[in-house]
Symmetry: C2
Subunit: 337 residues, 2 copies
DNA sequence: CTGAAAGCGCTTACAG
DNA sequence: CTGAAAGCGCTTACAG
């Protein structure tokens, strides 16, 4: 490997000390005009760019933030991730991403990685259970933002999210208002939003005095399209009639719709379906999907700008930011006939 | 910030020199059993993890690879990116990602970032025009993999891709075999695959002695669903009849289908549509999308394992790996009636 | 087997 | 304004 040019090379070329080179690199004012010129010239000629690792090691801040996300991430998380990554770029941060596997061991591995880097801040798109993780962040005063979930016990972290339960209740109430009574739920236990959306479903039923029928709730393992399809298959096999479905994720909804169609049911004429998240495709599918819209862009923007504030001002306050959601009625839900 | 624990702390706690601590961290054998035990104990107690930046600076390899992708990336690129990132994890690499903006300035900014890090290798999911980029990689012997495109002039790089032109021709031939003659093309000039897929379209027409009608090709700006919808709108406004569409991207196809549906045309009865890429959703849409499948998983796997080989063995050979594509006939294409 | 020393590429007081 | 020196956290010959 052709040895990379270093600050020493520049110093030699410009016939000054490395200290002086460092000064012009960092835009300090007190440097003689002629030397500055010589240095700038040398930098241009060699295409020199300071080594970040070296600079990071001596300085306190690294301008690097870590993004932690589930190793199997769905479309919504993907979009959110892009949004955050983009905003981070705009703010001039470097990003490292960490896929955290679903078991304790995976979380532990992530903690190791986290420790081995010197991160200025951290954005989590996924809950992490092991307490050591929180402890480390807290003790080292590493600003932390939680997106799409909250953790009441996470000292010093700012969380950004919608009211999952309320939003789910709104989705189900929408179905109820359309006259539906036998409303199926497709959910999963993974991650707290799964539980909360299920709670919202039950609350809406309760509110309308519709008895909860456990036979109508179908749990799947993951939040993707194939699971939605499979889940619907199993649900139909139970032979319990229903006229509407609340899928706690758009992808689950899309998979369910696919299966319903395959089985000769049409959506929404026979069965209404509402999803959750409002991923990009949902406004283009046939039929267009009714769903709950999360303020994706705002979440991404806020996550980064709040993190930036925390880093800049070294504040560690614990906050909980509820963002508004929007119920979007499209074509997949219709009055019960 | 509570000062992070360093190798010195461990040395002090275990009452040995830092050299010795370094030895056990790196699994060197020649360390007395009692000292090793004391050191391991100290590491466990403090939760110490070596600082990567420091280690990277002194060692030659960083175990870090950079992934470069377009700042506006579509679903296919997103899936590919996930795949690559996942494989990189498996191989124990750290990844940094870089979104490169579409102008020269964005590419230049990326080069700066690239220089400021010490990357063991680089994976590009997007072409980069400025020659300085290639030069830098080459001169510093940084292993490079190009995915989904090739560059004949990129010395030392390995490229992994399908035969874009051939695949596009296969898609269009499929339409021709179904009896279609007036076949529209929805394409874009961005990135070389855009050009190549267009070439494939023309080749297939030519092969079947169907005259090329420029009125039937519609260029859009980007490869996403909204553009597909908009493009189809404009195409219909031209009032030139066609019975089939080749959209050079699944997302473009999905957007086009949405608009056709909105205008009262049904797909495939009135108009057949074939896409390209086979993104996840394509096998679940209504109708299911006929398309060209790129071997996504294989591409991701190969990209990482070939990069790993290059890094390990310091080989810089230039290779061009053509992977097979598959024409997938689903429901969106049907015989001309 | 093991410690002192030098060095990786930078920055930052500290004296001039 | 500017250079010599120390130090960031590690690793690696080099002598014991």
């Amino acid at each position: 490997m052709r040895t990379m040019i270093s600050i020493k090379d520049i110093a030699r070329l410009a016939d000054v000390s490395v200290s002086t080179v460092s000064r012009v690199i960092n835009g300090k004012t007190c440097v003689a005009e002629d030397k500055r010129l010589r240095i700038e010239q040398a930098i241009k000629e060699t295409g020199f760019v300071p080594n970040r690792a070296a600079r990071d090691m001596v300085m306190k801040n690294t301008s690097k933030v870590g993004i932690f996300l589930p190793d199997t991430f769905n479309q919504f998380q993907r979009q959110l991730f892009s949004e955050i990554a983009h905003n981070l770029e705009v703010f001039g941060y470097y990003s490292s991403f960490f896929f955290v596997a679903t078991d304790k061991q995976g979380e532990q591995a992530c903690l190791q990685k986290l420790k081995s880097e010197r991160l200025d801040g951290v954005i989590l798109l996924r809950e992490i259970e092991i307490p050591e993780f929180r402890t480390y962040l807290l003790q080292n005063h590493i600003p932390t933002i939680l997106v799409t979930f909250e953790n009441a016990h996470w000292e010093g972290a700012t969380s950004i999210h919608i009211s999952e339960e309320e939003a789910a209740a709104a989705a189900v109430s929408h179905l109820i208002q359309l006259g539906h009574q036998e409303i199926a739920l497709m959910g999963a236990k993974k991650f707290s939003f799964g539980t909360q959306r299920e709670l919202g479903y039950k609350r809406a039923l309760d509110h309308a005095s519709i008895p909860y029928n456990p036979e109508l709730t179908m749990y799947v393992d993951s939040y993707n399209i194939p699971q939605g399809k499979m889940g619907m298959q199993k649900l139909l096999e139970r032979n319990v009639p229903f006229t509407a479905l609340f899928a706690i994720t758009d992808e689950l909804a899309l998979g369910a719709i696919r299966l319903l169609q395959d089985c000769g049911y049409s959506v929404p004429q026979d069965i209404s379906v509402i999803g959750f998240d409002d991923i990009e495709i949902s406004s283009f599918t046939i039929p267009r999907l009714s769903t709950i819209q999360q303020p994706l862009k705002e979440m991404g923007r806020l996550a980064v700008s709040l993190l930036h504030d925390k880093i800049k001002h070294a504040v560690q306050e614990q906050r909980n930011i509820h963002l508004p959601f929007v119920l979007i009625e499209r074509e997949s839900t219709v009055c019960r006939n």
